[in-house]
Symmetry: C2
Subunit: 240 residues, 2 copies
DNA sequence: GCTACCATACTGCCATACAAGTTATCAATC
DNA sequence: GATTGATAACTTGTATGGCAGTATGGTAGC
């Protein structure tokens, strides 16, 4: 059914982390679903250990929560984290775009146009495919701006955001989003930092504009009082 | 030498995570220092497995970086992450303080005063002790504001910030910081949200004001191009 | 003296086995 | 029928052994 296959030569735990993360985001593993180490291990025909390590990584991203001796379950979507991720993206990406607009030679406009063409091509097809194209577009911007490092940092938080996007796939105003992408590129091409930045902020603010409706439509998927991974309450150990 | 002792009845891996995190923050384990699973396991007289899992957690916090088949070493301090953490703290805490000032009954002023008294008591002693008191103060604010959940989320990022604070301990203008704390409490007590918020922002902006000097004074501790934990470059797996 | 090579001593990674705690099941008892 | 208690079937946690890949030191060959 799935085509995610383990490559025995590469580190298994990290592959599993990627696979499971994707399955959670695309809602193949849905919130509150219980997943056990042995169950997943059997599915991928590996031992329990790498699965366990993947769980630890996913737990630190807030995608699953492990209850000692009781089980592991997929976390609900943390609305607060989603808003934070969106906020962070806006801060980072608007900065990047401004940079690109200020130094015209830096951005490969032809490549950006190609990205937009691709988005239009898949707009009518599989929504997941569009999200991938969208992802590639934004990542390319970050790379051109020389901010690939920061981009990767944001990704961890972005996973929560992507889960929401998958949920809202059906009512996705895809063409509008593509037009907004085009507007960003146009701002860069014109060498107009203010315009490019404004277009980016506008775009990212609109992406989750329908978050409240999605939450009320799928209450079981969201959580208002999420439980963190472990105890970080005291960074510098108590002395008394 | 150390008093951090493993409690065999509680989950070992999580205890180790806490111990090692503290040792990194307090610079007992310094940047670029190589640490191996077996070495740490021997120190705490446990098996390698929980150590390994602690490493994974610390890696996802950016405190160590594991190089497959090569070794694990303490990460340098990521200046970008430090700034981000400070920024996030300002956003969260100024919001919390404003909330407390708006609803006067909410904050236990006596407890806050007690915190400040404690800070003055330890101001001249062990600098680490002051950081703990400071930490407790800010955490209490978050709890009173009912934002303990968000607070814990920020903690993960804050670890990087704390490392810097430990480095700058000697030249810490401790009394000034305490006065700023008092100003925040005064704002809350007066029921003046704007004043309380301003005091908070001013305080948090000053905490790392000497970051540049610290960086130039200890260049070996900081890194400009940190390497993330693992590959998060593609959230939704490539399809082409 | 310099380079290429090989043995050795590491490293992190994975599989397996065992331990300890939690939940579910079901039967005996009131 | 409702409650209680033992037991079995889970769960995650830990310990151990062996594996493959990497750095290191020394040595043979040039």
């Amino acid at each position: 059914m799935r085509q995610d296959q383990i490559d025995q030569t590469a580190p298994i735990a990290r592959q599993l982390t990627r696979f499971l993360r994707e399955r959670i985001i695309r809602n193949d593993l849905h919130p509150d679903q219980k997943i056990s180490e042995s169950e997943i291990a059997q599915q991928y025909d590996v031992s329990r250990q790498p699965v366990r390590e993947a769980f630890i990584r996913l737990a630190s991203e807030g995608l699953v929560s492990v209850l000692p001796q009781r089980g592991t379950r997929v976390s609900r979507i943390d609305v607060v984290a989603v808003r934070e991720a969106r906020f962070l993206r806006e801060a980072v990406e608007s900065d990047i775009v401004r940079l690109l607009a200020e130094a015209p030679g830096r951005a490969d406009l032809a490549e950006l146009d190609a990205h937009i063409d691709r988005q239009r091509a898949v707009a009518a097809g599989d929504p997941l495919e569009f999200i991938r194209a969208d992802e590639a577009f934004h990542r390319t911007l970050a790379e051109m701006g020389g901010k690939a490092g920061i981009w990767r940092k944001v990704q961890g938080l972005k996973a929560q955001m992507d889960r929401v996007r998958v949920l809202s796939l059906s009512q996705f105003p895809v063409n509008k989003l593509i037009d907004q992408h085009a507007a960003i590129v146009a701002g860069i091409a014109a060498g107009d930092p203010a315009r490019a930045e404004a277009a980016t902020r506008h775009h990212l603010r609109e992406v989750l504009s329908d978050l409240p409706q999605i939450v009320t439509a799928n209450p079981a998927f969201f959580d208002d009082a999420p439980d963190g991974d472990e105890d970080r309450t005291v960074i510098i150990g108590g002395g008394e």
